[in-house]
């Protein structure tokens, strides 16, 4: 049984409900599956069923089928109520008990907290006092929480303390939808299922790594959430550091959750931001202008942004990893809003060949070899190497060899949320970061955030639709690299 708090939110209608339907449609939900919504609305069960119906019809990935809907709709319930209200939770507990009886859910419950972190304390206390968080042998009770997992190390610890005071660590599922993406999981397949890549996946061959997550849109309607938080907290702390961990970690003994987690924690513990933050970090904020053929507002002109805001919309940092495999290889992480194109990728840049038996002019256009793991939108893997340009001269130029993920398999990739909800129901947590990982990630980012907070100036403005502020280019140029155009 899935119980969603904050069920009227955007995430719930756009992602969660369609994902539940898609799972049902693929026959992956247990027969007794039930969905309970909890929110501050005076809805009857039918109203809620209608909302789910609309959400599914509009946003589901798989075709709408009446019989699947029939199966699903029988188990749908709605509990109107306030989070702080005891009576509402008694009602919820009753509804859940009824459903356990009627649907035979076996007393297994997952509570999805799609609500602001400030309300976590109240909700988990309520769950405990109404006996909903109790762990019984043969049954499970799990809690699912969304990012942000705090806004610094201290708040993350506090949040973990609250949740862990009620639920055991193994029953807490932190959703980072990025990790549910097929292509993110494919990083592990590419690395550990092949003999081709792993031998060169280290500092003997790689000279730097660039991890990019760019968006071409601005903050849109998220001003309230975004301002004061900034993109480093929003993206680097979770997505980019998780991608870094998956890229840099050693091979786990198996894909059991605990094994995978051990390796990820090892790499995060060895990772640290560069000591010279003045030259190895960059932050920026998009200005107004033209991007992608449209006139767009600058960050400060967006609605409800205070004119003295110091929030960054672009962040780039250098991370060094102190272990044998990666010592001396800088990892450059960058993310930004209103950049030229929406793209997420990991690029491993290789050293130049130690000797080039060609005339210097023949290889003038030869860059460096690279393996690029394209996470989105054009999912796949690119291998970049030099090749001869056809003709009578020996002219060598970079070419790309592409593997396009979307087309290699006929089955369309499931949405990240499908995978994650299924994993929650199965209790299979390899893709969910545990509190240790969350805290380690904050330990890496906190010094950078503190440094930025200590600076008197506002973030450097950058042209919308460009690839970020000048200081970011300079940051790589100092180390003798340039950012890829992703």
């Amino acid at each position: 049984m899935l119980v969603i708090f904050g069920v009227t939110g955007d995430l719930s209608t756009k992602k969660l409900m369609p994902a539940v339907y898609d799972l049902a449609n693929r026959g992956l939900l247990p027969p007794g599956f039930a969905l309970v919504g909890f929110a501050r609305r005076a809805w009857a069960r039918e109203d809620f069923a209608h909302v789910v119906h609309t959400a599914v019809k509009e946003n589901a990935r798989t075709p709408f089928r009446e019989e699947v809907w029939q199966q699903l709709s029988e188990g749908i319930r709605f509990v109107p109520g306030q989070i702080g209200d005891d009576e509402s939770f008694s009602k919820l507990a009753e509804t859940i008990a009824d459903l356990d009886e009627a649907r035979g859910t076996g007393g297994n419950h997952a509570f999805y907290l799609s609500i602001p972190p400030g309300l976590f304390q109240t909700v988990v206390d309520q769950l405990r006092s109404h006996g909903l968080a109790e762990q019984h042998p043969g049954r499970w009770s799990r809690v699912v929480i969304e990012k942000p997992f705090g806004h610094d190390l201290a708040s993350a610890r506090e949040l973990n303390r609250i949740v862990l005071s009620v639920f055991p660590s193994s029953s807490v599922f932190r959703i980072d939808h990025y990790l549910g993406k097929e292509t993110v999981q494919n990083i592990m397949a590419v690395r550990f299922a092949n003999e081709l890549f792993e031998p060169v996946w280290n500092n003997s061959y790689v000279d730097h790594v660039q991890i990019t997550m760019a968006e071409d849109i601005g903050i849109g309607g998220r001003a309230g959430y975004f301002d004061g938080i900034g993109i480093a907290r929003d993206v680097i702390q979770n997505h980019l550091l998780q991608l870094l961990a998956l890229t840099a970690m050693d091979e786990p003994n198996s894909f059991e959750a605990s094994q995978l987690r051990t390796e990820k924690q090892k790499i995060l513990a060895a990772a640290r931001p560069s000591k010279r933050m003045d030259i190895h970090t960059a932050r920026g904020r998009y200005a107004g202008g033209w991007a992608g053929g449209e006139k767009v507002k600058g960050y400060l002109e967006e609605e409800r942004i205070p004119p003295d805001s110091r929030t960054e919309t672009y962040a780039a940092i250098r991370i060094d990893i102190d272990n044998r495999r990666w010592a001396g290889v800088p990892f450059y992480l960058r993310t930004g809003k209103r950049l030229a194109r929406r793209v997420t990728e990991i690029a491993l840049g290789f050293k130049r060949a130690p000797h080039l038996p060609f005339a210097q002019t023949d290889t003038e256009e030869l860059g460096y070899n690279a393996i690029v793991l394209r996470i989105q939108p054009d999912e796949g893997v690119t291998l970049r190497f030099g090749a001869k340009v056809p003709g009578t001269q020996m002219e060598i130029r970079d070419v790309n060899m592409d593997f396009a993920y979307g087309e290699a398999f006929t089955e369309s990739s499931p949405e990240a949320y499908e995978r994650l909800i299924l994993d929650v129901l199965l209790g299979d947590p390899p893709l969910f970061p545990q509190h240790e990982e969350v805290e380690l990630a904050w330990e890496i980012l906190d010094p950078v955030l503190d440094y930025w907070a200590s600076l008197p100036e506002q973030p450097e403005p950058y042209e919308p639709g460009s690839w970020g502020p000048k200081s970011a280019d300079l940051m790589l140029a100092r180390d003798g690299f340039t950012w890829r155009r992703p």
Partner: protein, 315 residues
């Protein structure tokens, strides 16, 4: 497949490109560069054709930027993929305020981490060094022959030269230069004088004369003929002329003192061949730089000596 998008944006164009490629079963393409072509409606058809043919040799994403008339801001696109089109061709029409910010439209459409080449088949922006689109490219191709006053156009190119510039009137000379160099290899005599004959207003002939002047350090005279293009180059030696004459634009006769006259195919080439040739090398053309600069400063000494070997291998 041709897809028309009206009132669109760069991100919509990008996602449609991905979608179409998928729907075609994602044919392997390995595009090596992005070619931006800036033209007006009248040059559009021939530019499109030339770029598609050149695309066979150099699979590319071709972005045809057409500035359309109209005051209202607008952006329309036409995507051509598959069905005999190599790579991807996107025709982009901008109007009004959008047309004043072309780089904002084009930047998101550049292929990842690969060379960008820009070609103006006709009119070249007056201030090329500050042109938004020119800045995106590492190679910039112009064509002085398309200008009503070619020599003035070439001089303007020389004045605002940036490494990576080329003019197609220079590319047209490659076979001539190869033949002339070969003649001097076979008959290494001291050259006393040179004359270049061509139809009036032929920028290639001006460049050829400048090149010979700077390489041979002799006086080069220019003579007008009825064309087409360059009709003859005569290099005077003590024993007589080394003469290459091409009266019909197809077949040249090649004469060296003391040797029988021979025929050499020296066809005037079309845009496609010129474009393909230019796309083969993407590093700055140093010999072109020196030659075109010598048109304004009167000597051929500009440029980096250490790179001369490579550039001479272009001939």
């Amino acid at each position: 497949m041709i897809l028309t998008l009206e009132g669109t944006s760069s991100s919509k164009i990008s996602s449609e490109l991905v979608r179409i490629r998928r729907s075609l079963g994602s044919p392997s393409q390995g595009m090596v560069l992005t070619l931006i072509i800036v033209c007006d409606e009248s040059e559009f058809a021939s530019a499109l054709e030339a770029s598609i043919v050149a695309g066979r040799e150099h699979p590319s994403r071709i972005l045809l930027v057409v500035t359309a008339t109209g005051r209202d801001a607008g952006l329309d696109a036409e995507l051509r993929i598959g069905e005999g089109t190599p790579g991807e061709v996107v025709v982009i029409r901008m109007r009004g305020a959008v047309a004043a910010h072309p780089a904002s439209v084009i930047r998101p459409l550049l292929l990842p981490d690969s060379p960008v080449v820009i070609w103006w088949p006709g009119k070249v922006p007056t201030n090329r060094t500050s042109d938004e689109l020119a800045k995106l490219a590492m190679r910039r191709m112009t064509d002085a022959a398309a200008s009503p006053r070619p020599l003035t156009a070439l001089r303007a190119r020389a004045r605002d030269y940036i490494p990576g510039d080329t003019d197609l009137s220079w590319t047209r000379l490659t076979p001539w230069r190869a033949l002339l160099a070969a003649a001097l290899d076979q008959y290494p005599a001291k050259i006393r004088s040179v004359s270049v004959e061509s139809e009036r207003n032929n920028p290639s002939a001006d460049l050829l004369a400048a090149w010979l002047r700077s390489r041979l350090k002799v006086n080069v005279s220019r003579r007008n003929s009825d064309g087409p293009g360059i009709t003859a180059v005569r290099m005077g030696t003590a024993a007589g002329d080394i003469a290459i004459t091409r009266p019909d634009g197809l077949l040249a006769s090649y004469a060296v003192p003391g040797q029988p006259e021979r025929l050499v195919a020296l066809k005037r080439r079309n845009f496609t061949e010129l474009l393909s040739e230019e796309l083969r090398r993407l590093d700055p053309d140093v010999i072109y730089e020196r030659t075109v600069k010598s048109l304004v400063d009167g000597n051929g000494s500009a440029g980096n000596k250490s790179r001369a070997r490579k550039a001479s291998s272009r001939t």
